[in-house]
Symmetry: C2
Subunit: 238 residues, 2 copies
Amino acid sequence: MYMLKYQQIAIEIEKYIEDHALKQGDKLPVLETLMTHFEVSKSTITKSLDLLEKKGVVFQVRGSGIFVRRHKRKGYISLLSNQGFKKDLEDFNITSKVIELAVRKPTIEAAENLNIGKDNDVYYVKRIRYINGQTLCFEESYYNKSIIPYLNNEIVSESIFRYIKEGLGLKIGFSDLFLHVAKLNEEEANYLGLKVGDPKFYVESIFYLNNGQSFDFSKVTYNYEQSQFFVQANSHLL
Amino acid sequence: MYMLKYQQIAIEIEKYIEDHALKQGDKLPVLETLMTHFEVSKSTITKSLDLLEKKGVVFQVRGSGIFVRRHKRKGYISLLSNQGFKKDLEDFNITSKVIELAVRKPTIEAAENLNIGKDNDVYYVKRIRYINGQTLCFEESYYNKSIIPYLNNEIVSESIFRYIKEGLGLKIGFSDLFLHVAKLNEEEANYLGLKVGDPKFYVESIFYLNNGQSFDFSKVTYNYEQSQFFVQANSHLL
């Protein structure tokens, strides 16, 4: 996938942090050293560091330096990264089972969240995802077919988002997540291998392209025994 | 509280969106119009809009303009805004009951998350928060006393974070949240007025100053019947 210079350097700095096993609060080399090391200009390295700060990888203290931000807990899934589980749970084995893939008219709820009419077509995808052989979640997604014109079993067994970005060349802009905790009903309990009335962690997500069009409305029910999440927040939200 | 010009303008633009009842996808006036309207330079208005983009209030489409980002759902609490509930749930009546406020040695867990020794003092705060007379959550917090040297009942009945920012003049940098879903134990069920074994939405948060020092470790158990959350994500996370 095409990346700008500062995005490439940001990835290399992340790799540097990983390779040197840097921990939360560890100081990065000064700007000049980073510029020399990566052979880039000051403005590029500054943009790379700003991106990493937004991503929660570093924090900058004025007049003092750039420090690593990295929590210690293992086994937590990033709530905001739809890159999926593969990136965050590298040590785990994640698989998907497609239960249904069909072109349909949207439910009222899906039409509303995708901002389309009830006569527009959507791809409906129903999957179960497994982590180390245990059920991780049960997923129902609606893709606006006028934006995602084609999906097949192979794509939806793997990463739909990778296909959207790399296969269709679309740029993802932002997403809204709505989190609920409730009790599992019979269908959900069956899919997850849990009991009716057990805790249900339920996330609705709407994903938008960078032009503001919503293309995906997803409803995901997690197995509360197999999933815990982390989120990083920056000062502008606090 | 002291704010920079672009931060003030960002607040005014938010107010403009509110006052004009702009909706998701509505276009803001062009840069030149905003510059004239708010009587600021292009670089100030650009910084204001960048801040609002980070906050999830607008999105910018290159070559096309600035658009409003605003989800339609009512009654959702912002997971990442610790401004508390007051801002997001303005229509609701939120109150707190302080159960305990004491200077203590930290638990092992608190010492680890605050990155302090077991002999350092912490303020321990235990509160129940109510929404329209119903229990919203049960909260236990540990504040590093060497950073927050003083708390009293009045402060902890109101907003501790406002006191930290305005009273102590400290700058909050970032936070890490860890989300879990489980079943309520007896103490939690009692505090929340729910049944043992009912779903438990449990959030651990670590808050850091802008110099990277952690000053607050909080454990919050929400009443799943009274709380639902939203989170906004931007492209750099997706």
